[in-house]
Amino acid sequence: MGSGTNIGKVRGLGSAKHGGTHWINQRTTAVGNLLLTTWLVASLLLLPNFDQATLALWLAKPLVAVPMILMLVSIFWHVRLGLQVLIEDYVHDDALKFGAMTLLNFYVVGGAVFGIFTVAKLAFTGAPA
């Protein structure tokens, strides 16, 4: 490990040992997204209409609420992994990169929790009048 050029500083250290996990999780969530969005489209097409009352009754069913929550987790996880790569590729300034990653983490966790809470509330307490 030298102290000169960028490549010299990291040569011999090996990988960060986290790349494999990121890669496999991206593929796993990709397959999850594939299955769950296919379910969503098929399930929506089977509905007689798209009125709020129909949709609320539909969304409150366990066999709809559960895959919807799973879909939110799978997609937001995939978003986290995918946009991380975008930030790493295009944001080179350390401070900006740190800020962008923080915003991304807030966005995906906030978005997923908001969506899950909305579905869970409807499933547990029923549709509002």
Partner: protein
């Protein structure tokens, strides 16, 4: 990227002729970004509108689906903004879906032969444009009533 490098860099995008394989790669990224932002925010809006009751859903419907009779020009403007956004999200969905499937095949080590790779890149573009057009036609005739 702390220090400036004076060593020669390898040639980048500007020296290569565009190919379907290059285009599908950057489209995968761009459509992923559209889905991650506009797509997911619209999904969350839709879910919370369903959970919020009939009035809440009417607001979502007014802006995203159709402003209807007696809408002001501002409401119509917002409506068309969301319709175009929806079209972009739908295209992004299919494009990301088909090029994502292509990536899963490539991950297994298949499809790297030059001609095969090019063929499937073109096929993925074709499939997503076709699927988007189909959805747009059905939505325009059945839901919006154009």
């Amino acid at each position: 990227m702390g220090q400036k490098t004076t060593r020669p860099l390898s040639p980048h995008l500007q020296v290569y002729r565009w190919s379907p394989q290059m285009a599908i790669s950057i489209f995968h990224r761009a459509t992923g970004f559209v889905l991650a932002t506009a797509g997911m925010l619209t999904l969350l809006w839709w879910l919370s509108a369903i959970g919020g009751g009939a009035e809440s859903y009417a607001v979502f419907q007014k802006y995203v689906v159709g402003a209807g009779e007696g809408a002001t020009s501002v409401e119509l403007g917002i409506n068309w903004f969301f319709r175009l956004l929806a079209l972009a999200v739908i295209f992004s969905f299919f494009q990301h879906l088909f090029s994502g499937l292509r990536h899963l095949v490539l991950d297994m080590g298949a499809g790297y032969e030059l001609k095969t790779n090019r063929t499937w890149a073109i096929a993925a573009f074709g499939a997503s444009i076709f699927a988007t057009a189909l959805v747009a036609l059905v939505v325009a005739s059945r839901v919006i009533g154009v």
